[in-house]
């Protein structure tokens, strides 16, 4: 390599030329460091979101590259959180990307000793059949005095505090249609 090419790579020259005389900043960066960029800069798109943990509702920015979530940061525009996230909110990228996430339906037959595989559509068919059968078997049209009840007490549901308004709405609508009375969520607990 010629001296004209090597001279600018000499650290002392770089420190002086790059305005980093103490060599504690840019001048100390290796070629590898220089070649990389933060995931936030490389994202294909940034999607506005809301933290899924507590009810403060901190703003999140979800960075996506190649259809993968690559980073989640606080949204500085939020008047609630002003860009901040707590340890849980900061960990939410792992929440969505963790290798421990379940990706397949699991089925355990009565008295079974292990999980089995099941196609999603078949699981949905089976669940629909269970709901219909239990509802039929336990439906109460009226009480002993003949007053209308129109319900089943054989089915219960719990959950809703971690899912969306639209989901809660549609779920309750379905349950009301079925006459399922016992629909509850964490708000009670």
């Amino acid at each position: 390599m010629s001296i004209s090419k090597r001279l600018p790579m000499w650290p002392v020259v770089r420190q002086l030329a790059e305005g980093d005389p103490l060599g504690l900043g840019r001048a100390a960066a290796s070629a590898k460091t220089r070649a990389i960029a933060p995931r936030t800069a490389l994202a294909d798109r940034v999607v506005p979101s809301i933290c899924p943990y507590c009810a403060v509702g901190c703003g999140q920015l979800v960075y996506v590259k190649d259809e993968q979530v690559t980073q989640i940061e606080g949204d500085p525009g939020s008047p609630l959180s002003r860009g901040r996230l707590c340890p849980k909110g900061s960990a939410s990228k792992e929440l969505v990307n963790s290798p421990l996430r379940e990706l397949k339906v699991k089925y355990r037959r009565p008295h079974g000793s292990a999980w089995e595989e099941l196609e999603l559509d078949q699981a949905m068919e089976m669940i629909a059949d269970r709901v219909i059968a239990t509802r039929r078997a336990t439906f109460e049209r009226s009480d002993a005095q003949g007053r209308p009840l129109r319900r089943t007490m054989g089915i219960a549901s719990l959950g809703g505090a971690t899912i969306d308004n639209e989901e809660n709405y549609l779920w309750r609508k379905l349950m009301v249609g079925l006459g399922v009375v016992q629909v509850e969520n964490q708000a009670r607990i």
Binding site: G59, E67, K88, L149, A161, N165, W171, K173, Q186
Partner: protein
């Protein structure tokens, strides 16, 4: 109080710190010294479960020292209202109010009503007592009142008498709070309230998870009304809720006793006639609840569409009916007893998160089928092969007949939708990526399950199937086969003829022409724009930030903000100016959306025969109340008394110092062998459980752990279950730092590492020292970090208003060493 905001809601706590930097005072009242206490001007440890005595002491102080906000109290509360002459207070019945029925262990609130007539509740337990169903309901102006506040039966005097014994000395002996500490706090609060200043109360489940939980909040409400701190900037009683959409799930509503927008679910003894049902549930009351029939009809139209006609009372005839408490703990007992056969669990983990975990797991083992939808395989899904009962050999998987479906769920980044945060703010999260594998949103699950069930039933429908077959279930599908979440939000927000989105709740009609899935959310899609997705950065708008998200109702950020102006509509002070009447513009103006009819003059006097909000005078800011006033005395809505009364927790090491009646007489107990209770103090065996235990959360974990114990970094930060004890208790019981302790109750024994710290203070209560044990409750048998579940220790015993369990105060024993192991380990 009842919250450790710095650790459990840390990002919101930045605003408390900001306030402090501007000269605000922060006081933390909590059994434990935490990071919230560390930043507070004053930390007051009190005995868990004694909050009504403490807050009642503050009410007493405010009344006796005349520190209340006189003009506010006179005009905006029911202080002057005269109460039925048959009402008898707990002072005269030693812990009971009039109307107690020992047979049913419940109250008839006939005698708690106004002298003028029956008063409908704006929340809580609705309906009118049988004896008074023919009586006239209070609408708007109440005539029987004494503006001098001196009549012995006016609310103000009843209040004074009710709290007359809640003295600083009583607070000291009940709560363990020294007199000087209490008086310093009382002075601070009074100094920081009034026309020029406001005080806010912030609470979390430390206030709610008690057998008197609803009354804890009521006590704070009385205090805040007396001090004039409601409806004003910097005031209020602020709940810090624990889940991203726990508020929305309450509003919209996955709760057995309310339909979306807190509309009551009919009970078996309610009239079958829609109009009569609405009348008896507040539809003829003053205030906005006077529109209940319109709100209900519009919901039914959203549910049943074309099938909801005047002929079937808009589908009212399709609604199921209640025969009592059908809340989640009753369902659990139903599983144990065999009448609940099928169970859906959507993003919740009752095997760890609910009181008396072993009872829940027993219930799960007794089901025919169970569907669990979650991101991770939580304990509620794995109970049949991985649970304390299987580990101990008590049960074997092959003996468990439950059929289990685990369906992986989509995460918040994998679907779009809205969360309602703890201050009623709806915020839309966009979808970032498609879910992987079998992961699906709950919206997909609800829609497709409904579609399959409807198709199967439509093949051979029976009479009972009409409500499910007639449900309006047409939603446009996205490419992913999810229903379009914005289409669902449109239905929630409502529309008028030709699918035009409703501008707001004022446009809701009673003739079925305005389907609206949740009246308080009406207008969330006004103008065809998803208002919940508004995202103008805070630096581009004022501090109220109306262009970020959308708050129900009508994008109002401070509820009842008419009260921020005086009766004539002028600001109480320049410093606390917020919403006020502009004579020039002939409407209410301010940085927020006025929480009042926009052009209603402050001197408006309702004409005879006016109904609903039009029956309220222009100086009645509490527009959801039948009389437009804040209730110091609650004639209805609260089932265990019109005024809060100190009772001991169901399990307590001490007796009630105030009344012969020890515990909340109306609390819900379940006396059965699988739910044993510890003896009352003085009864044989009570000395076996001498300590108070209380549960709490850590910054790094999330409730029952389903969203934190499976994450490596959070698990590294808080790797292990522990218990927190004072040096004195450690010495008395021989506990060593970092060693093991076993916490024992009649429900369970759990083990935990010992953390000895003066942050837990022994309290002097009466003539003895009370020790408290602090327990985080995040752990279970699954995840990267595992440990025993604190909730296993607690019994089922509930608040009678909202059916919440008491896990913030109970009794226990603590011993050194690990818990006993079953024979199979």
């Amino acid at each position: 109080m009842g919250s450790n905001m710095a650790e459990c809601h840390p990002v919101a706590f930045q605003w408390v710190v900001e306030s402090k930097l501007k000269g605000g005072k922060l006081i933390h009242v909590d059994p434990r010294f935490t990071r919230t206490s560390a930043l507070a001007d004053q930390h007051i440890p009190l005995r868990a479960g004694s909050d009504i005595a403490f807050l009642g002491g503050l009410i007493h102080y405010v009344l006796e020292n005349e520190r209340y906000f006189r003009d506010y109290v006179r005009s905006y509360t029911n202080a002057a209202t005269l109460i039925d002459e048959r009402f008898v207070d707990t002072e005269d019945l030693d812990g009971f109010f009039s109307g107690w029925d020992p047979e049913t262990r419940s109250y008839d609130n006939s005698t708690w009503q106004y002298q003028d007539g029956v008063v409908h509740a704006s929340a809580g337990q609705r309906g009118v007592p049988q004896a008074r169903q023919a009586d006239q309901a209070v609408v708007g102006r109440v005539s029987d009142e004494d503006p001098s506040l001196e009549h012995p039966r006016c609310v103000f005097q009843l209040l004074r008498r009710h709290f007359s014994r809640y003295t600083p000395e009583m607070v000291e002996s009940v709560c363990g709070v020294p007199r000087d500490q209490f008086l310093k706090l009382a002075e601070t609060i009074c100094d920081r309230s009034g026309p020029e200043r406001t005080t806010a109360f912030v609470y979390a489940v430390g206030w709610t998870q008690h057998t008197t939980g609803a009354q804890f909040i009521r006590t704070a409400a009385i205090l805040q009304l007396l001090l004039g701190n409601m409806g004003r900037p910097g005031g209020g009683i602020l709940a810090l809720r624990g889940h991203a959409n726990i508020q929305g799930a309450t509003d919209i509503a996955t709760l057995f006793d309310v339909l979306p927008g807190y509309l009551p679910v009919p009970k078996v003894d309610d009239p079958t006639d829609l109009d009569e049902f609405c009348r008896l549930n507040g539809g003829d009351a003053g205030g906005y609840w006077g529109n209940l029939r319109s709100y209900l009809v519009s919901l039914l139209k959203a549910y049943w569409g074309q099938a909801a006609t005047a002929g079937n009372q808009y589908g009212f005839d399709y609604l199921h009916r209640l025969t009592g408490d059908h809340s989640t703990y009753q369902s659990t007992l139903g599983m144990v007893d065999g009448w609940v056969k099928g169970f859906f669990v959507l993003g919740e983990n009752p095997a760890v998160g609910s009181a008396h975990g072993s009872l829940h797991r027993q219930g799960l083992r007794n089901l025919d089928w169970l569907v669990v939808r979650d991101l991770y395989e939580i304990e509620t899904a794995s109970f049949w092969y991985d649970s304390p009962e299987v580990a101990s050999g008590e049960v074997r998987p092959e003996d468990i007949g439950t059929e289990v479906f685990f369906l992986p769920a989509a995460a918040h980044t994998e679907k779009a939708g809205s969360f309602t945060n703890t201050q009623r703010l709806l915020q839309w999260h966009e979808q970032a990526v498609e879910p992987r594998g079998d992961c699906r949103s709950e919206l997909w699950f609800a829609y497709w399950l409904g579609r399959k069930i409807r198709e199967k039933l439509a093949a051979a429908p029976e009479l009972d199937d009409r409500p499910i077959i007639d449900l309006s279930w047409d939603y446009p599908l996205l490419e992913s086969q999810d229903p379009d979440p914005e289409a669902v939000l449109r239905e929630i927000s409502g529309w008028s003829g030709d699918q035009k989105p409703l501008p707001g709740l004022g446009a809701i009609q009673g003739d079925g022409s305005t389907p609206c899935g949740c009246w308080i959310y009406a207008g969330a899609f006004a103008g065809g724009i998803n208002r919940t997705a508004q995202r103008r950065p805070h630096w581009e708008q004022n501090w109220v930030a109306l262009d970020w998200g959308w708050a129900w109702p009508m994008n109002r950020r401070i509820l009842y903000n008419r009260a921020s102006a005086d009766p004539a509509g002028r600001p109480w002070s320049e410093r606390k100016r917020y919403v006020e009447w502009s004579e020039q513009e002939a409407r209410w103006v301010g940085p927020d959306t006025p929480d009042f009819p926009a052009d209603r003059r402050p001197d408006y006097v309702p004409p005879a025969g006016a109904v609903a909000e039009n029956s309220l005078a222009g100086d009645r800011p509490f527009i959801m109340q039948a009389d437009g006033r804040g209730w110091l005395f609650a004639p209805s809505g609260v089932v265990d008394g019109p005024l809060p009364t100190h009772y001991e927790p169901h399990e307590s090491p001490v007796r009630n110092a105030l009344y012969e009646q020890e515990r909340n007489p109306a609390r819900q107990r379940f006396r059965r062998p699988d739910n044993p209770y510890h003896p009352f103090p003085g009864e044989p065996g009570s000395e076996e459980y001498p300590f108070v235990m209380t549960t709490y959360r850590l910054t790094e974990h999330h409730t029952a752990g389903g969203m934190s114990r499976f994450l490596s970094r959070l698990s590294q930060l808080q790797p292990e279950m522990f218990c927190e004890v004072s040096p004195e208790l450690a010495e008395a019981r021989g506990l060593r730092p970092g060693g093991w302790a076993t916490i024992v109750t009649m429900r369970a024994s759990i083990e935990a590492r010992v953390l000895i710290t003066p942050r837990m203070t022994a309290l002097r209560v009466g003539d003895r020292w009370i020790h408290q044990v602090g327990l985080p409750y995040h752990w279970g048998s699954r995840g990267l970090v595992r440990g025993d579940s604190a909730n296993d220790l607690f019994p089922l015993v509930l608040d009678p208003n909202v059916h919440i369990q008491e896990v913030k105060a109970a009794t226990c024993d603590i011993r050194p060493g690990r818990r006993p192991r079953g024979g199979f380990e």
